[in-house]
Amino acid sequence: MATSVLDHAGAAGIHPEKTGFLSWITTVDHKKIGILYGASAFIFFLIGGLEALVIRLQLMKPDNNLVSPEFYNQLFTMHGTTMIFLAVMPLSAMFFNFMIPLLIGARDVAFPRLNAFSYWVFLAGGLFLNSSFLFNAAPNGGWFGYANLSSKQYSPGLNMDFWAIGLQILGIASLAAGVNFFVTIINMRAPGMKLIRMPVFAWMTLITQLLVLLSFPVITVALILLMFDRLFGTNFFVPLGGGDTMLWQHLFWVFGHPEVYILILPAFGIISEVLPVFSRKPLFGYTAMVFSGCFIAFLGFGVWAHHMFSTGMGPIADSVFALATMLIAIPTGVKIFNWMGTVWGGSIQMKTPMYFALGFIAMFIMGGLSGVMHSAAPADLQQTDSYFVVAHFHYVLFGGSIFALTAGAYYWWPKMFGHMLDEGLGKLHFWLMLIGFNLTFFPMHIVGLEGMPRRVYTYPAGLGFESLNRLETYGALILGFSFLVFIFNVIKSTRSKVHAPADPWNGATLEWAIPSPPQEFNFPVIPTVHGRDAFWEEKRAHGGMMPEPPRVSGAGIHLPNPSYWPFMAAVGVLLLFIALLHHDGKFGPLYIFGAVSVLFYSIFHWVFEPAEG
């Protein structure tokens, strides 16, 4: 798919490894790293989707025994963990990587090698987590790993060790990327690209990185304490030793609530790019969009305990967190109305990305409405741990994030790979996804309110759950099939070799000013920006359309050198955490020493390597 990037970039010819397997290991090009993120995350997304399908098949009829209760626990834990950390976050990271430098008019991110390191550590963490299936010891204590379910006493196997260690590895990747993209957006903008002129996707990415930087250290501490409990016998979360299981919940949700905004804010950004282009109108209320995003992120740190209403925190804490949670509905509502204001009166082009963007608005409103219902603590006590909650967060995470990411995929595909996706198949994908999604998750509201509990591997006949559960399973199969249509679309369009023009959608932002796919150096000349919607401005100044930009030689443009050391450092990180898992073996300390050596050796080579060609 991406080989065409390489073919054309040959003109820049200053680097040894241009093509082939090694060029992907050593690459520091943000576009190639973006594609690596996307490809890996999509595979993890399919794995997480298969887990969901097995869950749905198990629940298709009452008293089913397709999977054992023990394996069911592993399935729902890995489904949640995979979709959050290995699918939605890295799919967003694909767009951060590929698009942010293009959107702000830069040649790469601030730290290209750190960027490669982030990707390799992410991949290591994903493989580490999923390798647990090989030992029949996949994490089984829920994606939230509640103490003391996750303690050695109640989870004696390696399962939760894989979880606690795997998430730490992924945290390192997210934090490194967080620093990198924060600095990139603050510091690498093209001349004239003031913060308040940036595309909203860049704004939402910036806010997301701040959330990552401030929330991931908290989960890291929680995971370290859990790991110490499990591996070294401390009592942080063991009530017998005086430990407080509530501390885990507080630490986890101080991270966990900002995390849901880490998952949704990039989606908001994508939608804010897609809607104006296909409505042929600038985004309605740009500043309100930016500041409501900031406000959501700020409030996001003050509402964590609404995940804990049923723990009995008392009326004052319950009221404060309930009110703060309701407050978040205001900036979110501002966004929804601004999106509708953008479409209103526009000259709407019903292309595939627009279908998914409009689908996003409808589905996200439904998820938001059930979310506001949870904010009332007394109502939440009835809904918590039921399928109503499952319905809610799938409407915001699938109906929200995945719809938006799919919109982004159809929108930016021509830019990333240089060919168009088929419109007919795209629309088929949309309708199957919309119908399958609603068939799967809408009935969960009903069975949830009727009392069907989450995370239980089966239900008895005669409670009235049978027909709706069967319907949900059919919906899930349609939903799964919709992604086969997407894969078929990708294969068919790639084979058809219909080259995409530089600006197929009459886009508003800078990435459409350069050839599809972009050359290795992105911009032959760094653009100067005079206002928002920079490329629309430029086209207007030139009386409508711009001519197709030529592919030019990049001779004389300095680009960062490829490097093995980010990959090697990531291997060091992986070895270190594997060694921690084996710390009490005969050679435990030796493993740890070896892993630390690999890590330090790689970091020193990295530091002393000349960065630029």
Partner: protein, 195 residues
């Protein structure tokens, strides 16, 4: 590491690497804030001894604290020397900084060993668990800082840190200050507030 050649100047005028280390430090604040919170939540919750008041040796830790504080001054002087191209000032004060770091680590190793012999382990009670985790992670940060400063020292001796590359050193210095500041919080919260 950064992409100077890609952009003649950054949008804010702040070098990328300097902004990055500040961003990283901001993130680290939350890391230590969480560890300190855990320590405070479990303060007085240990079911068995040894308890903090029985075991702390305030005078020794005060000396360690003072040396770590002075090392922050020394690293400022060393950075100043580096920026002026004054090799003697640069390397001399840097060596002093590293020595202070070594003393602090030595103090902590002694303290941990002593506590261990008194029967305080991570497994013994919540005080041991939260104390060793908090001060252990701080000590790890000091150790990484010392390794970083030693690398700068070796590069400095080889003449590879001219004033134009003072930023290489400034990043380590900023990190070193941060590690000091964390200790300024830990010292009163852990050692002084335990009556």
């Amino acid at each position: 590491m950064d992409a100077h050649a890609l952009h003649p100047a950054t949008s804010t005028g702040i070098p990328n690497r300097k902004l990055a280390i500040w961003t990283f430090i901001g993130s680290e604040c939350l890391f230590f804030a969480s560890l300190i919170s855990v320590y405070l939540v479990y303060k007085g919750k240990s079911l068995v001894g040894p308890y903090p008041s029985e075991i702390f040796e305030i005078p020794l830790v005060t000396v360690g604290t003072a040396l770590l504080l002075f090392s922050s001054l020394f690293v400022v002087l060393a950075l100043n020397g580096c920026e002026q191209g004054n090799r003697k000032k640069f390397l001399g004060w840097l060596a002093m900084t590293i020595l202070c770091g070594f003393f602090f680590i030595g103090m902590q190793v002694y303290e941990f060993t002593h506590f261990f012999h008194e029967g305080l382990t991570m497994q013994k009670n919540l005080f041991g668990a939260s104390f060793f985790t908090l001060t252990g992670f701080h000590g790890t940060h000091v150790t990484i800082g010392v390794i970083w400063l030693i690398s700068i020292f070796i590069e400095g001796v080889r003449g590879h840190v001219p004033p134009a590359k003072a930023l290489n050193f400034e990043m380590a210095a900023l990190y070193w200050h941060f590690v000091d500041v964390v200790w300024i919080v830990i010292f009163p919260v852990v050692y002084l507030m335990n009556s």
